[in-house]
Amino acid sequence: MAVSAKPLSHPQVEMHHDPRQYLMLDPRPRGEMNEMVMDSMLSISWKFWVAAGILGIIVLVCLFGAWGYMIFEGLGVAGTNRPAYWGIFLVNTVFWIGISHAGTFVSALLRVFKAEFRRPFTRAAELMTTFGLVQAGLSIFMHMGRVWLSYWMFPYPNQRGLWPNFHSPLMWDFLAINTYLLASTMYLFLPLIPDVAMARDRSTGWRKNLYRILSLGFRGTEGEWTHLRHAMNIFAFAILPVMFSVHTIVSWDFAVATRPGWSSTIFGPYFVIGALHSGIAAVAMVLIVIRAIMKNMKYFIRPEHFDALGKLMLIVSMAWAYFFFNDYMVQWYGGDKWTDQLLHFHEAGLLGWMWLGMLILNIAIPWLTLWNKKIRSNPWILFIVGLLINVGMWFERYIIIPISLTVNRMPFTWREYVPGIEVLLTIGTFAFFILLYMMATKLIPIVPVWEVQEGQMAHSLRRFGRETVISVSELE
């Protein structure tokens, strides 16, 4: 099935406005655009270094310092207990994997379906995938009781005679996340090559050396482009099932367990949608920040993109609401004594406000705001909505993990979970994510400039009689 490139919007309605509000119809000369991107990458103000310094200190203290202390003292400094053996570390893992989803979704899915609005921000989204996965991975290691032995989970022949247990969902998880990390890094790297090559040609000193290595000698010959397109196509299609499977597999950590509230067959798609919910919101947030802070970004990232992302967020929110309702319904209808108790605990327990908050933040707020084009095109409103959705989705994971673990089939053991050092480490992972992202924006072109140029070349305005129509040609 051939998917044809779609025009940006319905031409008849939109043509009253200036077509140059659309990036694809607002072309600039290649050289100028390249310079804009280089400029935004290379201009590093003192504010950047201050922010990086502060984040670096937070990362050192909250992440590595606190983690080291926890490794030395044991997990007692964290909040987990019997029966809530899993706590915020795994909440963060699921959360960050969710964040990482949007990158691939935006970039690969929209690429596969040739949604043109994706062009300027695929890289920003893919970077989120990679760095989000780094945080997810770190959180898993934080969670482990004897992290210094974590290499025992690697399937390689060894003198200990150990072999990992492929029956364990954690092994599936381990493999899925590793696969996803590798694939998404590759997928980040491939479209980067022409841009790095562009940067190589425009820089000197260590950067030149770095870009020379990264660009793998890309010169832009027809053969190279063909190979690149080929590889990207393969990856874009191949990574989509990986992306869907990763979060499905993460959900199986819970769904295959014998716990009330966990063993739910809908968990796979429910988790995937949840991941997209938080992930797309996070992409929007990141774009808004980049646009506000980095030079020349207002040209590349425009209200049309927020409008499109806002629509996506609204749709995903609706889908999430459906899956939530489905999950709740089935569990409630099942009538299992312990599940009933658990659902009651969710709603009316000590952290009942969190359950309610989750519904408000994930459903009510997006539905009330994002239906309106004016609201969703406003970057800062969208930023706040995105932030709230992310808080709501974090709540959702918190409800699924430590709160659900509080209630089990042996009521004698029910006990609440109160976070301990996890709070510091959570702050640490967020700081680490931002720090990595900041550094990356100054090392690689954050806008895939060749993709934008390609898009602009493909788009043109044509007149048919009195009608002006946007036409898109297939380049690939």
Partner: protein, 245 residues
């Protein structure tokens, strides 16, 4: 390890047939005195954790005595005391979820064992245990000198970050099996007694082989008063509780 004892795995076995060691707890006899709890701690080098960590749900008891309430004063009644330890499931939910095979089914005793030095502390097994009998070493619990003199050399001392649980005192099973073998005889019913069974002043806990129809534990299991905890989950627990009197 007594390799000669290990039967070849036979795929035609059903889970029920493999059960060898089992326990019966007569709740009508249990007085809730906690002697089993202390005996277990003394035998198995279980750490004490102190008030703050008990408040927080980190007590290391391998066996706990549960009691609930029924009715309102003055018709209030404490339910029968119910000691809960690892049920040594025939189909244990904790086993398949461990990524490093630290929670394993030992084929020589048909017990569910935790290999402490293989555990990396993912705690999945504990989440998946419907009986909530696994306990985790949240810290290297303090055991000041000279309390360490009391440590049982036949039981592993566990490090922080390691999951642990009741083993039916597997060290005692081994010792009894090996001494019976060296004397060239079969094990006698009642010869192996885990620490809780040995201490129980009310004789409420009986231990033995459930694959031997003549053993006391087999007879009690089939005596009509027996129920198993969360039977509907299909975990095939090896511990049977006797209700009523």
């Amino acid at each position: 390890m007594s390799k000669h004892k290990i039967p070849e795995y036979n795929t035609s076995w059903s889970e029920e047939e493999q059960g060898r060691w089992g326990m019966v707890i007569d709740q009508d006899l249990c007085t809730g005195c906690q002697a089993c709890v202390v005996a277990c701690a003394m035998e198995n080098n279980i750490s004490f954790v102190g008030e703050e960590d008990v408040v927080y749900g980190r007590a290391m008891h391998w066996i706990r005595v549960e009691r609930f309430w029924e009715g309102e004063y003055p018709e209030v009644k404490a339910t029968d005391f119910q000691p809960v330890m690892c049920q040594q499931c025939g189909s244990a939910p904790c086993e398949p979820v461990c990524p490093v095979f630290a929670s394993v089914h030992s084929q020589s005793e048909e017990l569910n064992l935790q290999v402490y030095n293989r555990c990396v502390g993912t705690r999945y097994c504990a989440n998946n245990c419907p009986y909530q009998v696994r306990v985790f070493n949240w810290r290297d619990w303090e055991r000041p000198e000279p309390l360490n003199n009391q440590l049982n050399p036949t039981v592993t001392v566990r490090q922080r970050g390691v999951m642990e649980k009741c083993t039916f005192c597997v060290q005692r099973i081994h010792e009894a099996e090996d001494s019976a073998q060296s004397e060239g005889r079969e094990l006698v019913d009642g010869e192996v007694q885990p620490a809780c069974v040995q201490a129980c002043p009310a004789d409420a806990i009986v231990f033995g082989r459930i694959d031997d129809p003549e053993s006391e534990v087999s007879k009690l299991t089939k005596g009509g008063r027996g129920v198993q905890l969360l039977e509907d989950l299909g975990t095939q627990p090896r511990v049977t509780y006797l209700k009523g009197g």
